[in-house]
Amino acid sequence: MARGATARLYDVDHDRLKFVKLRLTKKYDQGTISFHARKGSLVSLDKLHESIWATRLSGGTNSGVICLDVTAVGDLVESDNQIVLSINGTQRQFVLVGDVKAKPIDARESVMVELRKALSEGQKSMSVRGYVDGWVGRWPAVLRQPPAKRPRLMVTGFTQVEK
């Protein structure tokens, strides 16, 4: 009911903002919040960070974030032995890596080796999925660190996209 009210209030479609409880543990539950950008838009991780910070989450509990799994679309660029994903239509970039701290215990395996191979074969425009570094810890401490300008992204999947 609250989800529906929120969606109506802010003109957000239900299928673009979904909360799912996993009930993995007895003591402290875990859940996932799925979100999609509206058509023609992208979601800013800076604003996500800012907005959660603005809710003034209290400390003293075990409440927090376990990981943030995202999909971004852009062009791959290799420089200084790093592979960077430059987001289409923006100045933003992700540094693509094979591992980060901010991942769940049952994290998917990195496919960074396969991505390097695809890049060497000339594939540049990609949709890349992975875990964003820095998004792990208890509220509100995890939010005290400002979001990285070029976040590290542990690559767990990718597909070539047509321009």
Binding site: A2, R3, T6, A7, L9, Y10, D11, V12, R16, L17, F19, K21, T25, Y28, D29, Q30, G31, T32, I33, S34, F35, H36, A37, R38, S41, L42, V43, S44, L45, D46, K47, L48, S51, I52, A54, T55, L57, T61, N62, S63, G64, V65, I66, C67, L68, D69, V70, T71, A72, V73, I87, G89, T90, Q91, R92, F94, S127, W135, W139, P151
Partner: protein, 36 residues
């Protein structure tokens, strides 16, 4: 707590800015006593 997360995310979805926007979709895994 749950309501706060949803409200925060809803605001973000509305307030997208081309200059700082980055992702087309995401899944945040969270935990907390408040979610019992």
């Amino acid at each position: 707590m749950r309501h706060r997360y949803l409200a925060a995310l809803a605001l973000v979805l509305l307030a997208t800015s081309p200059a700082s926007a980055q992702v087309v979709r995401g899944v945040m895994t969270v935990t907390g006593a408040e979610m019992h």
